[in-house]
Amino acid sequence: MSLLAISEVITGYGPTIVNRGVSLTLDKGEIVTILGPNGAGKSTLLKAIAGLIKPRAGSIQFDGVTGLAADVMARRGVVLVPEGRKIFVDMTVEENLRLGAYARRDEAAVEADFETMLAFFPILATKRRDRGGSLSGGQQQMLAIARGLMTRPRVLLLDEPSLGLSPLLVKEIKAIILDIGERFGASVLLVEQNAGLALAVASRGYLMQNGRIVVSGPIAELRDMSLMRELYLGGVAG
């Protein structure tokens, strides 16, 4: 059985339906991406998986359990690094990182992870005592990912980590995502509009359009599909 199994999930806000019956799976150690144009429902799906919103129908099963609130999901190891980073701007870089370890009791391991993050993201070591709000966009993204990793996730949900970053930083994020599985043993579900980044790191992918999965398969297949080209370059998006 898959680590994360999503089946026929329908979500929406008020009268608007966003996801119209989405199914997907994520196995241990995998990096899987969900691609799709703006407004396809990718972020909403991630919020539902993280437990921030309740799906109207369908099931989200993690490790055999379903229907948990966000804080319980996080304690069980499904952690969302949200779109727009959402770091705590009034708190220091160190406090942000330590909040990631809120639910952990293995204090020695937390300290070790904390040092690992500072080594892995050197800019965070430099800015350790600075307010989160004083960091640049790229630095905030590093902090958001590091804070997510401090929870020791089994599944890391990344929502548009490359948004608004320079090509150089996107490259850095790419290296980090590739490293997450090996270094931290987490599976990754990556939502991206930057298809280049997503295709470079993921082994499988789903293409979402108008709240539905329209195509899924190994990344090499997706890369060649004419539909991908249409969606991203042709302009039938929407």
Partner: protein, 297 residues
């Protein structure tokens, strides 16, 4: 020469008086500001929580219990009341904080009249728990006022320490800043909301016990006290507990100063004048507040 020294005596005494009342108001303001920061609810019934703290102290002392034990009973009773009201009422208004505010307005009437029903609307007082008056170089210092100020300083210092240094305090500040993202860190935000109601109510219970040590109270004392507590919370920046304490200190000094120099009839207005002035110049309060909780979009 003579006249100057008399003025200074009065000044010091009035500052002490101002600070002792401001202590009680600060205890309310911390509760108001914490509850708002986490839930967006402005709990105007917080003054009634204070009044009930005073009533519990009065009941306990009248039954022959010593003042220190009565204070602890008030803290426990009002803390428990906060727990029950959060679980039974405010919990259901979290999605729409305005409803919580309206619920709190209703609670004012209910709580006042429950007290009137059981214990009549008359003034209630207890014998002063400390009667010593120190004479220091011509300045008369009532030890009971010093006690109120010291207890408040100790409680505020303890709360600050908890909020800045502990893991729970860090999680609380994170929840105030962004509830959803705090939940993503595994923080059980709902439990923190309950915790803040209990803590805020317990501080109001303490405030009530300290207030009745200074003055007689009636079932309607809560109204003016909560208005001042709210003004102090606004001056400091709603949601900002450091701001609330600093603003409480400022108000205490201003009230004491004015009473000492012959403007005592205006004392009750200062908090509001100060509030209006501050809000005109700095709409988010002197020290910056929060805009209330951010919700799932």
């Amino acid at each position: 020469m003579q006249q100057v020294s008399i003025a200074v005596d009065i000044f010091i005494q009035q500052i002490l008086n101002g600070l002792s009342i401001a202590s009680v108001i600060t205890l309310i303001a911390i509760g108001v500001t914490l509850i708002f920061g986490l839930t967006g609810i402005i709990n105007f019934a917080h003054g009634e929580f204070l009044m009930i703290g005073g009533i519990v102290t009065w009941l306990a002392v009248s039954a022959g219990v010593g003042f220190p034990i009565a204070v602890i009973l008030s803290i426990l009773a009002v803390g428990l009341m906060g727990y029950v009201l959060e679980r039974g009422l405010f919990r259901f208004t979290l999605e729409r904080p305005t409803n919580g505010f309206i619920v709190s307005l209703g609670l004012i009437v209910v709580l006042q009249h429950v007290v009137v029903l059981f214990w009549n609307p008359n003034q209630k007082s207890i014998p002063r728990p400390l009667t010593t008056v120190w004479e220091v170089g011509g300045v008369r210092i009532a030890s009971v006022r010093v006690m109120v100020i010291l207890i408040t300083i100790a409680v505020v210092a303890l709360s600050f320490r908890m909020i800045t240094a502990s893991r729970y305090g860090r999680a609380l500040r994170a929840s105030v800043e962004d509830r959803d993202t705090a939940a993503l860190m595994g923080i059980p935000v709902r439990r923190y909301i309950t915790g803040v109601f209990v803590l805020g109510s317990a501080l109001a219970g303490l405030g009530g016990a300290l207030l009745i040590a200074l003055f007689p109270i009636t079932p309607f004392t809560g109204g003016t006290m909560v208005m001042k507590g709210f003004a102090v919370a606004l001056i400091g920046g709603l949601g900002n507990i450091y701001g609330a304490v600093a603003a409480g200190l400022i108000l205490g000094i201003v009230e004491g100063f004015s009473a000492g120099y012959g403007f005592s009839q205006w004392t009750d207005a200062y908090s509001f004048v100060l509030m209006i002035l501050v809000l005109v110049v700095r709409p988010h309060g002197l020290f910056g507040g929060t805009s209330g909780p951010r919700m799932a979009s």
